[in-house]
Symmetry: C2
Subunit: 305 residues, 2 copies
């Protein structure tokens, strides 16, 4: 079962140096979740061969244009491409009004149901679940209401030790064991630990789009131990003041957050147009947190089971 992040864009504010604004796709067991939708997201989805109508749900962190201005075009294209399955759109207050107004003036009726779910930027709350993942919000501190998203695989069933299972054990018995229960069979108690393997760990991904540096904050607990953390790194350490003024972080600060939260891997993104070469930002982060990487468009970051 795959659990893989693909970067579609990771530039801040203005597309530059061939880099698109923020958007990315998390794929869990062949189901796609779109996270932010900067201008040109539909172009990037085509470029990286991700079928747009495989997207199941959309998550928008905040309403700065570089994080959502590609959404309306994508929603139109989904409809023109014949989508009929509903889409679940999680976004701050305002986006529903913006989309409905744009649909009104283009006299458009989408081909599929579009469900709006308003996000809460104040605290970490449950937002979404399906049979594959749960998603909680991650409160961030930016110039406007903004939250990130924590994706976590659903608890998995335990694996049966096939060679030990009695051949006449009923389906109900097998399900009970998979769920971690003991089960009575032919007047004998089958103890769960004797008949099952421990399931693989639930994989997790935390997306922190735009935020001021938040050390020793509730953020740390929310993203503690995640497998993969994307944290904005708009500026480098030399521009630390500018970062604070604009409610952004530096590459070093992103790494300090990754270290404090004990995550496994950090991806830096949301690069200012002032930086053409991103390697110095990567090196700055790696000094603090060696397992840091750059969010490069088209790159995939798989998390193994």
């Amino acid at each position: 079962m795959n659990f893989e992040l693909t970067i579609l864009g990771a530039n801040a504010a203005i597309p530059a140096h061939g880099r698109f604004p923020t958007s990315q796709v998390l794929c869990v067991n062949h189901r796609y979740y779109l996270i932010d939708a900067g201008e040109g997201v539909q172009i990037q989805l085509v470029k990286y061969k991700i079928k747009i109508n495989k997207i199941h749900a959309i998550f928008i962190s905040h309403l700065h244009g570089d994080h959502y201005l590609g959404l309306m075009g994508l929603l139109n294209t989904m409809s023109l491409r014949g989508r009929t399955e509903p889409i679940y759109l999680h976004a701050p207050k305002g986006l529903q009004e913006i989309i409905i107004l744009q649909l009104k003036y283009s006299y458009t009726v989408l081909n599929y149901p579009l469900h709006f779910i308003e996000t809460n930027q104040e605290e970490s709350v449950f937002l979404f679940e399906d049979e594959k993942v749960t998603v909680h919000t991650i409160p961030l501190t930016h110039r406007i209401p903004c939250c990130g998203f924590l994706f976590r695989e659903k608890a998995k069933d335990k694996n049966l030790i096939k060679e030990k299972i009695p051949v006449d054990l009923s389906v109900a018995g097998r399900i009970a064991l998979k769920k971690g229960e003991d089960f009575e069979h032919n007047n004998q108690i089958l103890k769960n630990e004797d008949y099952t393997h421990v399931p693989n760990k639930r994989r997790s991904y935390a997306f922190c789009s735009d935020t001021i540096y938040l050390p020793s904050s509730p953020l740390i607990k929310i993203i503690q131990n995640v497998d993969l953390l994307y944290h904005e790194a708009t500026f480098m350490h030399t521009d630390e003041k500018r970062a604070a003024q604009t409610f952004h972080s530096t590459a070093q600060q992103a790494a300090l957050i990754a270290k404090e939260a004990n995550v496994k891997q950090l991806i830096l993104g949301h690069f200012s147009t002032r930086y053409y070469d991103l390697v110095p930002a990567l090196e700055e982060a790696q000094e603090v947190f060696p397992n840091s990487l750059l969010a490069i468009e088209g790159e995939a970051f798989p998390i193994n089971e």
Copy 2:
């Protein structure tokens, strides 16, 4: 003095085959007028080395997403790039409301004054002028209110025949002759035709974005004899029915309009994603109107004086 159209995108509905949705720039004597602003227009402007803050005025034909969804990003970028000069935005009813709503939810105050001028899609009316051009609307018939734009160079001063001008002729006298008047000098009437060359013709460009085929209609008179006509050619003749159903035109129909209006040159654009190769569409048009060309991104179409 240059008068040149540059294509930034000419695809219909959905970006495809590496082609961006509709947008183009008319440059008159180094002043830029943006016509439509499909998603990614700011990326295309950078790609083709057109400085975004040289854009003086913007003209949006209608509110289908493929003609304006790049505008909000462009307006944001103009502000981030330090623009302070006003921008004049000519667009159908609704775009002002959409932009103001998006500015509100992103808590953005643009750095420059943005003036909205609502277009009239019902008749051809005067819309805009500066010292270089006048612009009139071109009513079109599409699924939603839509108009094209007719750009015409301002009437030019006549050129003085320098070797004939008395050396002691005053500035007022020179201006009067340039304006086509006779002028009394040293008790002698300088007859205008003896002292001036006829100015070059006023160059003109007509943009017809999205429209059903409108032969023998008021459109013909409005665009009569223009130097350059861009006419949508969403479909080919084999899809003529589909064109009529969706209020679009075929390449052949665009050529018939060019022929009927006796224009000098036709540019075909707004190609459906169903066509990868556009040469057959070009050939279809050239059979009717030989001086037809394709709107290819990055191509410039200069009109000589």
